[in-house]
Symmetry: C2
């Protein structure tokens, strides 16, 4: 079996703009998370559950990133929080500049928590700092237990791992202990939560942890 290896250069300049965003967030006292995962892992569902859970406790705003459609922003808008949709038109990740553009449509003062939902993509968003306090990566049990090894950059750059769709474990080929072991092998500092948006399992723990951060 032959192995062909190719080096890739990481894009720059983005970090500078991310720092500007970070300054803005610091001034307004806004805690910012960057939600990342494969398509269909449950980013928007986790966000809906989180908004429900934090209702009345803290002021939240949302930036939705999608390749196409504002379906997710519509789902989020139902919770009565300010939401800005970024449509990347084929672009595979959010960049700090796009977030900066979106921020011009949000009054940050008084907002305790800003959730940025990235494009569904376990590869490209890993390298792009948006100015967030932390990346939160969602991995669902249906994707199998080898994903941290196969897409290590995202797990390396995240601070939190949410293992979602815990309710489906009996039906899928995924060893939960192995998944955690693989994730912690890539990044030993990950804080891990287990959730199900169907049964609401683990949502309280995650939401309270997040609330304590704001």
């Amino acid at each position: 079996m032959a192995i062909v290896t190719i080096e890739r250069k990481v894009l720059q300049k983005n970090d500078e703009l991310a720092e500007q965003n970070r300054e803005l967030f610091k001034k307004s006292g806004t805690f910012v998370i960057n939600l990342v995962s494969s398509p269909g892992s449950g980013k928007t569902s986790i966000l809906e559950k989180t908004l429900e859970s934090l209702k009345g406790k803290v002021k939240v705003a949302v930036i939705e990133g999608d390749v196409q459609t504002d379906l997710d922003a519509q789902r989020v808008a139902k919770f009565g929080v300010p939401v800005v949709q970024i449509v990347t038109n084929g672009g595979c990740h959010l960049e700090a500049k796009l977030v900066q553009d979106a921020l011009s449509n949000i009054e940050l003062n008084g907002v305790n928590l800003l959730v940025i939902e990235n494009v569904g993509n376990l590869v490209c968003p890993a390298g792009y700092d948006l100015g967030e306090a932390m990346k939160v990566v969602i991995a669902s049990t249906t994707e199998g237990d080898d994903k941290p090894l196969k897409y290590p950059a995202m797990f390396r750059n995240a601070s939190v791992l949410i293992i979602n769709k815990i309710d489906l474990l009996p039906y899928v080929n995924c060893d939960l202990a192995e998944l955690k072991k693989n994730a912690l092998q890539i990044n030993n500092n990950l804080t891990v939560f287990e959730t199900s948006c169907t049964t609401s399992y683990g949502i309280k723990e995650w939401s309270e942890w997040l609330l304590a951060k704001t």
Copy 2:
């Protein structure tokens, strides 16, 4: 709700190299498919089932694309077919040039079917022709039924849609009819298969269809 829209330029030059690959495939009489999907949709599992099903009927070779690790190539190598692993080291999609490099490690003459398994990514591989006869997109039921609308380019550029993890339908929030409707709304020419790698449902239909193409 504000909407910020950004235009993206599609990368070029790749198409030229893809044409060169296509010429090579034509000369050797090799039918080539480019397997694309989100991480964890079941590309490698479908491939394993296909290899099992086509064993002794046709000569197959495989090019594996991964961001990191050769886990998938190891899985495929067990079937005794020639396999080349491309490790992109963070790169989010295969390009025609990488396939060209990989081809220098494969004797194409006599190979009836070449399967290129792309990086798990529902966005970036959509724009990159590798010289394949067709893209085969896999969408799993666990990802929900809205993915064709949210990631339209991949479904637009594919010829075949395999809806995988059909066995999990009772447990997930996915309307199969809606998923098909959304996919066909984006691309009315899609040939659709329904499969489960757990129960082997639909593998025979898919494999026989593929065999007839070689």
